[in-house]
């Protein structure tokens, strides 16, 4: 279920990497920003206490805007140097963490679910909150829409094209600035959606950016950089492996098995499951 949200995160991350060659390590921070924006707008203790659905939309908008601002205000000037960009975005994430601590304190919070309620699934013996279903649904709709956009429309195809050759894109009349801005906006919106759901289903704290980011990184590389299909499949694969390793090896090995499997996959397919072959054999 939550794998869909992970896929959403990974896709946002991979799009930015694909198009600009930017390893945006602030992606996790944007997710955190989404969660905290939602918290600020909806928290019953806060000044606004807006209805959740409004808070959700606002959080998505704010995160998308922040993502754009990050691009236009910083990344644009340094994106030609991949190591600098990578470090600068980590630093942005760390800065944001401190600012959030200053503003909200470091204790974790729990978000009001966008929808409340729960059902009991007799067959599988588990309980499911409506918000989990919603997260699943919204993520899939967003992924589907994006997939259609980039593969079936010229405008969307330009995004992929730009990722392969900037000069080529210019030669075919693509407005680079617009494509990049749009990519960052989309990635930001995805991070906003993911932030609200991660914040609801897990918790909202100034440390919440790291693990989704690490996960996105892993998913993207396993799936193959730049591949939407790869990200989705890898997200589910990881989700499955995490659960399986708990069952097979016990909780203290959680995550280790999946990592080992992932390493094995990478060694067999050095460009991820659906990555572009960069070296031909």
């Amino acid at each position: 279920m939550i794998s869909a949200v992970y896929a959403l995160i990974a896709i946002g991350f991979t799009m930015i990497f694909g198009v600009g060659g930017v390893l945006n390590l602030a992606h996790g921070a944007l997710i955190m920003l989404g969660a905290f924006t939602y918290l600020a707008f909806t928290s019953t203790a806060g000044a606004l206490s807006l209805p959740p659905i409004v808070g959700f939309l606002l959080a998505v908008v704010v995160t998308a805007a922040a993502s754009y601002a990050l691009y236009a205000g910083l990344v644009k000037y340094i994106e030609d140097n991949i190591v600098i960009t990578f470090l600068a975005t980590v630093v942005v994430a760390l800065l944001l963490t401190e600012l959030i601590i200053i503003q909200f304190g470091s204790a974790p919070s729990q978000l009001i679910p966008v929808v409340s309620g729960t059902i009991y699934l007799e067959a599988v013996g588990t309980r499911l909150r409506y918000v989990q279903l919603l997260a699943f649904g919204v993520s899939w709709v967003a992924i589907g829409a994006l997939w259609y956009y980039v593969t079936k429309t010229d405008e969307g195809r330009s995004i992929l094209a730009t990722s392969m050759s900037t000069r080529g894109a210019e030669l075919t009349g693509v407005n680079l600035q617009k494509v990049k801005s749009r990519t960052w906006l989309i990635a930001g919106a995805f991070a906003g959606i993911a932030g609200v759901f991660i914040g609801t289903l897990q918790s909202t704290s100034p440390e919440m950016w790291l693990s989704p980011l690490a996960l996105a990184f892993i998913i993207v590389v396993i799936g193959g950089i730049g591949s939407i299909k790869g990200s989705v499949i890898a997200a589910y694969l990881i989700g499955y492996l995490e659960t399986a390793s708990v069952e097979i090896l016990g909780p203290s090995f959680q995550g280790v098995l999946s990592l080992v499997v992932l390493v094995a996959i990478l060694l067999m397919r050095p460009n991820g499951l659906f990555g572009r072959e960069l070296v031909h054999e």
């Binding site: 190591v83 600098i84 470090l87 600068a88 760390l94 601590i101 992932l262 390493v263 060694l267």
Partner: protein, 352 residues
């Protein structure tokens, strides 16, 4: 503007001229191995070295402690640099190497024999770093670009997650704290760290300036060309990782005897790897001495200037710290110390 710099450089040029004879002596003796320098650069290098070697005689406790820590981080950053900075295969996993050394020392003492002498634990630990380095390098180096970075990153996660799984040997997240420190005397301790650092700096600079350095850099720029030159790029990539593992191991050993123990947050977590990268990049990647300078700059800033001098409370301190780092990254992208070096080159007079 330009006339102002002109005037400045006439002045500095004159100073430079007067120092040139000294620098020339050096250039004649060692220039072939370490590269030549002008008078101002000579002063920078040897002045700094002298300042570092005498720090306990002019620094206070907080500063000297910060510099002690910086010396260890300088070793890490330089080691990272000879591998990642030179070959362009950016490793996110170097904390595993120092961690391997630190953990080996601690686990030998904790699980094997608490009385084990350092004569045994130290070489074994460095060897362990080398072995782990090869273990990581052999499979990872089949991958390129971000795929390589990721797999090294994953190696950190694997080690990190295995530690609690074997907590009876590793001490879990509290680690093992029963390691003997070299000394608690803050001054003597400084020399335990700074002397190995200097030796490593010299050796790595020598290597970086030799053909080996040229080949590693060529791998970064164009690996296919290296193969086409009849040079086995893979062999050299693995070699650079091994070359990096050994000083990482030394640094790890120093760190474990500095704090008197190991634990995952001090040694393994990926933040440590990222710090190494930040230090190296800030100082100036692929220059060995740049990362060294970067370590002193960042660690002293973090552990001394922002805390003891400025006295900021912690969130403010980190905000200022990261803010400064960001500014340096964006505006001095080639690294602070490379900038300084080239600046001195410009302001120095004409050579010869």
């Amino acid at each position: 503007m330009s006339s102002a710099t002109d005037r400045l450089s006439t002045a500095t040029g004159r100073i430079d001229q007067s120092l040139q004879p000294l620098a020339d002596v050096y250039n004649r003796l060692f220039g072939d191995y370490f590269g030549e320098m002008n008078g101002l650069q000579f002063v920078l290098i040897f002045g700094t070295a002298a300042a570092l070697l005498t720090a306990p005689f002019w620094g206070n406790f907080g500063l000297v402690r910060a510099m002690t820590v910086a010396a260890i981080w300088a070793i890490f950053a330089m080691s990272w640099d000879i591998q990642s900075g030179y070959t362009g295969y950016i490793s996110f996993g170097h904390s595993v190497l120092s961690g391997a050394a630190g953990y080996t020392t601690a686990m030998l003492i904790h699980n094997v024999n608490p009385e084990l002498s350092m004569m045994i634990t130290i070489p074994v630990s460095i060897l362990a770093a080398l072995v782990v380095g090869l273990l990581v390098a052999l499979p990872s180096l089949r991958l390129t670009g971000p795929y390589f970075s990721l797999i090294t990153f994953v190696s950190v996660l694997i080690f990190y997650r295995l530690i609690p799984s074997f907590s009876q040997y590793t001490g879990g997240e509290t680690g093992i704290q029963s390691v003997e420190v070299f000394t608690y005397d803050p001054f003597a301790r400084y020399y335990y760290m700074i002397i190995p650092m200097f030796l490593i700096a010299i050796v790595l600079t020598l290597i970086a300036r030799s053909n080996i350095g040229l080949i590693l850099m060529s791998i970064r720029e164009n690996e296919a060309a290296v193969n086409a030159a009849g040079i086995n790029a893979t062999k050299f990539k693995i070699f650079s990782f091994a070359l990096s593992s050994i000083p990482m191991g030394i640094g790890g050993v120093l760190l474990v005897h500095f704090g008197g123990g190991v634990d995952p947050t001090t040694f393994i977590v990926v933040d440590r790897s990222i710090e190494m990268i930040a230090i190296a990049v800030l100082g100036g990647m692929s220059s060995i001495l740049g990362p060294l300078g970067g370590a002193f700059f960042l660690v002293v800033l973090r552990d001394y200037v922002l805390t003891e001098i400025a006295g900021f409370p912690s969130p403010i301190r980190w905000t200022v710290f990261w803010g400064l780092v960001l500014v340096v990254l964006v505006f001095v992208r080639d690294g602070l110390f490379r900038k300084l070096w080239h600046g001195l080159d410009r302001f120095g007079g004409d050579r010869r």
